[in-house]
């Protein structure tokens, strides 16, 4: 039985997991770095313990401390969220070794899928097609990789063996670029995952990134919850996801979903996981990798299936059987998620830190916000820039898009810059609206500047607003100067008064 869970994460996902636990009547333990004392997950948990200083390696990556806190606080289980220790086989193993429940797959499955090379051999053996690359060839040195690259063909991708989320990933267009990019990819991978190993993979053009959510219980049942379309990426970071995919019909969904379940079964998978595929324009699909954890974008699946994935994770960890069979899963309507990052899309997406002076959230029917911040909270530079996720549901894709457009406009954040304007431009893009895009869309076919040349331009209104605000600021400054004058004359009066009384 689990009656207390330690949530080994921060931000919106820690909050999401705390909510699921509370609704199941399970107590929650938060852990936090000293930069996060006032974070939402610390505020909402029943208990909260300090891990250490802000850098992740001194706090959220301190698996030893986390396990110690779990035992001291009486938690029976640890939910890792995503990122940090979520796909760290050693941590999962240590949790199991400490007699605690890891809410996720067995450490053996993390190992099998976490090493991208081993994962690809395993699923290939199970009959799942993979993208051509150096899979199954072990951890090669730079020289070997440079030698084998022409066989795969350019363009290709350097990817971190231990990686995910675009870190340690580089695109290579010509053989000449290989040495430099290998070096920077290894350096980033080493910093992010403590493992600088990389491998090569063919870069498929005109491909879509489509992933299947699966759930597996400890009684051998595996089901999938349909697909998520994740092709809209920037620097290999997902920006916007939807479910279903406008590219997938019922027949393909059923075929790929079955394959996803097969891939999971190949590693005796337990709990929630995601099988990522690349699908080319001829609908050929290739296994890319398995994410052995909860995904950032799980809410779109929750919206269209009605399944609470985090609660299912906890129930599975408690040894319960899946309450649903594959036949119970029907996708209803359409859901889109925009990742709201603290970054400035107008200035090369530089991260934006500082205090959130004001937040006005979008509200109304069909809107879900998963957030780790609140007005008054300070965004620190120590962690990733995702501050919230805005998810909209509609009866149709069209309705979901319109709802998202307006929700983005209603969502006001003062104090830091966000990528909301960027999402607004995507919503306004005819290609996005038509469902006509691939993984290269954002970087090659979409331009923030060009999208501004639309029919809705209002330069005259912008000019008027700029002048009105400038004028107001000028008047306010003048008032302060005047008040300064008055203060001076007070001083003068006081001076005179003092002279008279001395």
């Amino acid at each position: 039985m689990i009656d207390k869970v330690l949530v080994a994460n921060r931000g919106e996902i820690a909050v999401r997991v705390i909510r699921a636990c509370r609704e199941l009547g399970i107590g929650t333990v938060a852990v936090y770095s000293s930069a996060d004392r006032s974070a939402l997950h610390v505020r909402l948990a029943d208990e909260a313990y300090l891990l250490g200083p802000p850098p992740a390696r001194d706090s959220y990556l301190r698996g030893d401390k986390i396990i110690e806190i779990a035992k001291r606080s009486g938690a029976q289980a640890i939910h890792p969220g995503y990122g940090f220790l979520a796909e760290n086989e050693g941590f999962a193993h240590a949790v199991e070794g400490a007699g605690l429940i890891f809410i996720g797959p067995r450490s053996s499955a993390i190992a099998a899928m976490g090493d991208k090379l081993e994962a690809r051999s395993t699923v290939t053996a199970a009959g799942v097609p993979v993208v051509p690359g150096t899979e199954g060839k072990g951890n090669l040195q730079d020289g070997e990789l440079i030698a084998v690259a022409p066989e795969i063909g350019f363009p290709l991708l350097i990817k971190a063996t231990a990686g995910g989320g675009g870190r340690g990933m580089r695109e290579v267009r010509t053989p000449e670029e290989m040495p430099d990019l290998l070096q920077s990819a290894r350096r980033e991978a080493e910093a992010a995952f403590g493992d600088g190993n990389v491998y090569l993979e063919k870069l498929l053009l005109d491909a879509r990134h489509i992933e299947f959510q699966i759930l597996a219980d400890s009684h051998g049942n595996v089901i999938h919850l349909g697909e998520r379309e994740c092709s809209l990426q920037r620097r290999h970071q997902k920006l916007l996801e939807e479910s279903p995919s406008p590219f997938i019909d019922e027949e393909l969904r059923s075929r790929m979903g079955t394959l996803a379940c097969t891939a999971a079964q190949a590693v005796d998978y337990l709990n929630a996981g995601t099988i990522e595929f690349l699908v080319d324009k001829d609908r050929n699909y290739y296994f890319l990798e398995m994410n052995t954890r909860l995904q950032v974008e799980h809410p779109v699946t929750e919206f269209v299936t009605g399944v609470d994935i985090v609660k299912e994770q906890i129930r599975i960890a408690m040894g319960e059987r899946l309450s649903l069979t594959q036949d119970d899963i029907h996708l209803k309507g359409w859901a889109i998620e925009c990742r709201i990052n603290a970054e400035d899309p107008a200035h090369n997406f530089v991260p934006s830190t500082g205090k959130l002076d004001q937040i006005i959230l979008p509200t109304g029917p069909g809107i879900r916000v998963d957030t780790g911040v609140y007005p008054g909270f300070e965004i620190s530079p120590y962690y990733d820039s995702l501050i919230s996720k805005l998810i909209c549901w509609g009866e149709t894709r069209q309705e979901a898009i319109v709802r998202m457009r307006h929700a983005l406009e209603e969502y006001r954040v003062v104090g830091v810059k966000t990528n909301i304007p960027f999402h607004q431009c995507i919503m306004d893009s005819p290609q996005f609206q038509a469902g006509d895009f691939d993984t290269r869309f954002i970087e090659e076919q979409f331009s923030l500047e060009e999208s501004q040349n639309g029919k809705h331009k209002l330069p005259d209104i912008a000019a008027i607003l700029a002048v009105l605000v400038t004028h107001r600021e000028g008047q306010r400054a003048a008032q302060i100067v005047r008040r300064g004058d008055r203060d001076t004359s007070n001083w003068k009066r006081m001076g005179r008064w003092e002279r008279m009384n001395h």
Binding site: A346, Q358, P381, I461
Partner: protein, 165 residues
């Protein structure tokens, strides 16, 4: 008070006559203008149409962000217009390039040394922020004349890291 506002190559002459009364290029217009939530977000009703925008004034321009679109507006008031008309731009090009931190972060490495000659595109500083490594490159050829940071330093946004000559 008279202003010139230039946006997307077009200049508007805007005069503020009162609380709700302005003229744009000579045409009088009724405006209803308020700040929403104290600052940065403003609501404007003009001829019954309701607009809302973020407006961020900074040193060189006023940035207006409206319906997901960004309008950098150059605004001059009467005094500035007169100043511009009576003086010439007298700032000489010093030939210095100041590499400033585009964001707060941690300096991971500085692959150059003092007096080193660098080429356009060479990495000057690797800066880690929000878990991403950012390579800050030289925008042109030059020589490192000042080196203000080293690996391990935490830097603020706009802090000068390196100077090229």
């Amino acid at each position: 008070m008279r202003y010139l506002a230039t946006v997307e190559g077009q200049t508007y002459e805007i005069e503020i006559n009162g609380e709700n009364e302005i003229t744009v290029d000579g045409k009088p217009i009724d405006v209803d203008f308020i700040a929403v939530a104290d600052h940065s977000v403003f609501s404007l009703i003009l001829d019954g149409i309701s607009y809302e925008a973020y407006v961020y004034p900074n040193e060189t321009e006023v940035e207006v962000l409206m319906r997901g679109k960004r309008y950098p507006v150059h605004v001059e008031d009467e005094r500035q217009i007169r100043l511009r008309q009576t003086s010439k731009d007298s700032v000489a090009d010093t030939g210095e390039f100041l590499l400033k931190a585009p964001m707060p972060g941690l300096v991971v490495s500085v692959p150059v040394v003092m007096e080193q000659e660098v080429k356009s595109g060479d990495n000057l500083v690797i800066l880690e922020s929000m878990k991403m490594q950012n390579e800050l490159k030289a925008p042109r050829d030059g020589r490192v004349t000042r080196l203000r940071v080293q690996a391990g330093d935490n830097v603020d946004q706009n802090q000068v890291l390196i100077v090229l000559e």
